[in-house]
Amino acid sequence: MDTIYSINGPVVKVKDTKDFSMLEMVYVGYKRLIGEVIAITGEYTTIQVYEVTTGLTVGEPVYPTGSPMCATLGPGIISNIFDGIERPLKQIEKVSGVFINEGANVPALDTERLFKVKMAVQVGDRLKGGDVYAACQETPVIMHYCMLSPLLSGEVVWVKNDGHYNINEVVCRIKNGKGEIINLNLTQKWPIRQARPVMDRMQISRPLITGQRIIDTILPIAKGGTAAIPGGFGTGKTMTQHQLAKWCDADIIVYIGCGERGNEMTQVLEEFSELIDPKTNRPLTDRTVLIANTSNMPVAAREASIYTGITLAEYYRDMGYHIAIMADSTSRWAEALREISGRLEEMPAEEGFPAYLPSRLSEFYERAGYMRTLNGRHGSVTIIGAVSPQGSDFSEPVTQNTKRFVRCFWTLDKSLAYARHYPAINWSTSYSEYLDDLTDYYNTNAGPDFLRYRQEITNILLEESKLMDIVKLIGADVLPDDQKLVIEIARVVRVGFLQQNAYHKDDTYVPLGKQKLMMKTILHFYEKAKKALSEGVLISDIINSGMIEKIIRIKYDIPNDRPDLFDEYLSEIDEVHDKLISEVKEVEAV
């Protein structure tokens, strides 16, 4: 029997043993706390414990399990809320009350619930890893396909009839190449730190439509892509992630609350169960999985929560779904790494973070992608990770290393947030590398004008930022009228287009079509105003015409389902300017 030799916070050591393998899951102490082997030397085996170690004594036993930390995959995952090591928090509440006690070992998935299972194979079928052998309706919007573990293959020798079964019911038996019979129930296990295999990686070509104008139009993200949202506290990282989770067109959302606030998870739970998804007419929770490891929960489980989340996502991807992962926040995960690394007395690199931080980050982000799965379906995992830079300083290690492994970088800006401009994504310091990959999609689905408008809008913003440098020195009054117009138009773009109100029923989600028409209207106004200026109209008359304020309010005034109303605006813009020009002509004539 192996026993505890030393205890330091969540790190426990066992002396002189050869019973453990690297990354093996173990039970520690009489309370059977869950732990994982993280280092093995000749003398000591080091274990990180996923629970509070208070009360643990030297000499208590450590039990090996023989397998790595695994996630249990099967029906019952969706709509559930788990902690960092896939323990269902609602069940934990039942056994230990409002506070989480250590050693609360409950099965990950509900073993009593019956699913209406439809078998997809017959005796004699040959199955390879990833093939579907049964299906059941997991929630009203998600069909769950039970797939053969990627490690197995064989011939079906026995199949149960369709019927109502719980997850542990054996529904199928296969005989593998060695002639061994393997029982299959509705679940499988998969080690969380290992990416699930796929047939191949496909080219990225479809955007993840979010209904957020600054993202869809200016800084798009692709299905199967990666994005980071760095921002100091109070700049709206969580808010942005909530908006994306609510509105993006992924089939399933995996929301990982990693080391963040407990109340935020409560909010997600509440809001998502109340919010009706317009696509399915069902509450959002029907297609959402929550992983909650709040900041006061044990730190080692925080480190694992990211892997648990992505493993669940990959599992559903293998069924052919598109998954979006919201990881809030990856900085807390990096800090958990640092904390454990410190306890192991490893040599620190930058700011105390371990030297393997970049490789861990890239391992995580590289699990995103648009894939052809083992069973030939197409599915994707998109990762959107929030980063909380220390001291709002984007040069710190987590932000900088993340930047190297993501292709969308949405920086949140303090001064925008202070002015309550949300989403506070700074358009000049953010970037998206997906524009080229998505050009075809936009041209086909949003029309060839879309990207042209986008370019013109970004040009206006760019020009404004140049002009603002001058304005800051000498004031706006001295600028010539055409430059004043640029500043006015840029204000329209910023306030009327980029700024979006998450609490407004129409503005919270805006379809691509309306985004395009809004751009069109703004640019049309710009053209007309430029022309009017060249005809001698004063900029003050254009500003006083009230048209600017009207365009800014388009986001509220035109409902999402009434694109026809834009024509009225376009013709009104024409009328207003024609009137201004004719007035000038009249004066000149006099």
């Binding site: 030799y5 030297v58 509440e93 709002s392 002015a419 800051k472």
Partner: protein
């Protein structure tokens, strides 16, 4: 049989090391009896084979390798709890220091608490009226929230905290009991006295539990102080259904104590020498605020911290800001211009306010007014920085209007006297009156209906002279 271990093998700062111990468990409490008859308390912080590292709460002064007998209690640090806590004063380790003797406990609880299951939380929605315009309107305090005050040395954070306690008490209407748990960590004697006196003067003394670790008290005790306070708060809130406001001052001293302790343990430091687990450690305190299912009580926290060198990016305010649900930032310039409370509006924020204001809570126009005031004040700052370059005379008319708005906003909205208790209606109407200083076209955060209802340039007249 209870074993007493004779002597020590090492003394290092607040830590002592014992050899040949086999019965110690992690995090448990040990009693250290000195030969002179006094007793100290220690906690197991590391076990390595038969070697045990203990931190001594009262400090290691006077300990030698031979003059002690140590007894392990087999228990983590427990705090005796009962309703008698109210009105009492304890030291940082939870021992009574007001001369009224021990309390008769109804239960004992581990001061480290247990993590609250996120699914057992109730999302906080009830707002607490503080009677302070800037807080009520712009960064509304919600019951169950943790909203720190980021201050600097010499600013009026203590006064503000007292005003909040006093006025929040008055606004209490639900019939439930209200109490304050006060944790002083490394504060000066004068400051501790100020709080005591203020609580007595406003008649809340019998509803206050005080945990006092003054600046000359041992630092290890300082690490326990907020934990004792929060354990008491959780007990009163969740088991006695009271609304508890926890004031913790000064979190900076707490973090410094943690750093001192960490370096004496030879831990690898993170930023500015603070331990790498500072975030987790602070979270284990701040996350103990909230409202839980099945209880009518709540724990609301107002931690106060003085930003070293007024630097908001310093690790302490920075990590705090990432955990807490907003912050109230005090500003030295405003303070010097004689504005009390000197709340710096733009960086201040309450994350929970959006769900606790508006119709049914405060007033339907609340969120629009708050947003517009924020946006307008942001423009004031821009206009001021421009004016400092080109002079006020050269500003455009709009910018001049903003300059005027800025001055009046600070004078009438931010500034209020220590005993002025404004209702939410007064505050919001005042906000509208100030917004009336600006042309209607500038109010792009408010929809037409509300503007038609509340916007009237005539209301701004009173600010003109």
């Amino acid at each position: 049989m209870i074993i007493k271990h004779l002597g020590l093998s090492e003394v290092n700062g607040p830590l002592i090391v014992l050899d040949k111990v086999t019965d110690a468990s992690y995090d448990e409490i040990a009693e250290i009896h000195l030969n002179d008859g006094t007793e100290r308390t220690g906690r197991v912080v590391e076990i390595f084979g038969d070697k045990v590292v203990l931190q001594v709460f009262e400090g290691t002064k006077g300990l030698s390798l031979t003059n002690t007998r140590t007894k392990f209690t087999g228990q983590p640090m427990l705090l005796p709890l009962s309703e008698e806590l109210l009105g009492r004063v304890f030291n940082g380790a939870g021992k009574p220091v007001d001369g009224l003797g021990d309390i008769f406990p109804q239960k004992f609880a581990d001061i480290n608490g247990k993590p609250l299951n996120p699914v057992s939380r109730t999302y906080p929605r009830n707002y607490i009226r503080t009677g302070i315009s800037s807080i009520d309107c712009l960064m509304t305090l919600i019951r169950g929230q943790k909203l720190p005050i980021f201050s600097g040395s010499g600013l009026s954070h203590n006064k503000l905290a007292v005003q909040i306690v006093r006025q929040a008490k008055i606004a209490e209407e639900s019939g439930q009991e209200f109490a304050v748990v006060f944790a002083a960590m490394g504060v000066k004697n004068d400051v501790a006295d100020y709080f005591k006196r203020s609580f007595a003067e406003s008649g809340v003394q019998q509803k206050v539990v005080m945990f006092m670790n003054l600046s000359n008290d041992p630092i290890i005790e300082r690490i326990l102080t907020p934990r004792c306070a929060l354990t008491a708060a959780e007990y009163l809130a969740y088991e006695r259904n009271m609304h508890i406001l926890v004031i913790m001052t000064d979190m900076t001293s707490y973090c410094e104590a943690l750093r001192e302790f960490s370096s004496s343990k030879n831990e690898i430091p993170g930023r500015k020498g603070y331990p790498g687990y500072l975030y987790s450690d602070l979270a284990s305190l701040y996350e103990r605020a909230g409202v839980v299912e099945g209880s009518d009580g709540s724990v609301t926290q107002i931690p106060i911290l003085t930003m070293p060198n007024d630097d908001i990016t310093h690790p302490i305010p920075d990590l705090t800001g990432y955990i807490t649900e907003g912050q109230i930032v005090l500003d030295r310039n405003l303070d010097q211009t004689g504005i009390y409370p000197p709340i710096s509006v733009l960086p201040s924020l309450s994350r929970l306010m959006k769900d606790g204001i508006g119709e049914g809570y405060t007033r339907e126009d609340h969120s629009a007014v708050a947003n517009q005031l924020f946006a307008a004040y942001a423009k004031v700052v821009d206009a001021r920085s421009l004016a400092s370059v080109i002079g006020e005379e050269e500003l455009s008319d709009i910018d001049k209007a903003y300059m005027q708005f800025g001055v009046q906003f600070e004078k009438h909205f931010l500034a209020q006297s220590f005993d002025e208790d404004r209702t939410i209606e007064e505050t919001l109407d005042l906000g509208w009156d100030l917004l009336a200083l600006l042309p209607k076209s500038e109010l792009d955060r408010i929809d037409e209906d509300l503007l038609a209802q509340h916007y009237d340039p005539k209301n701004a007249k009173r600010f003109m002279d």
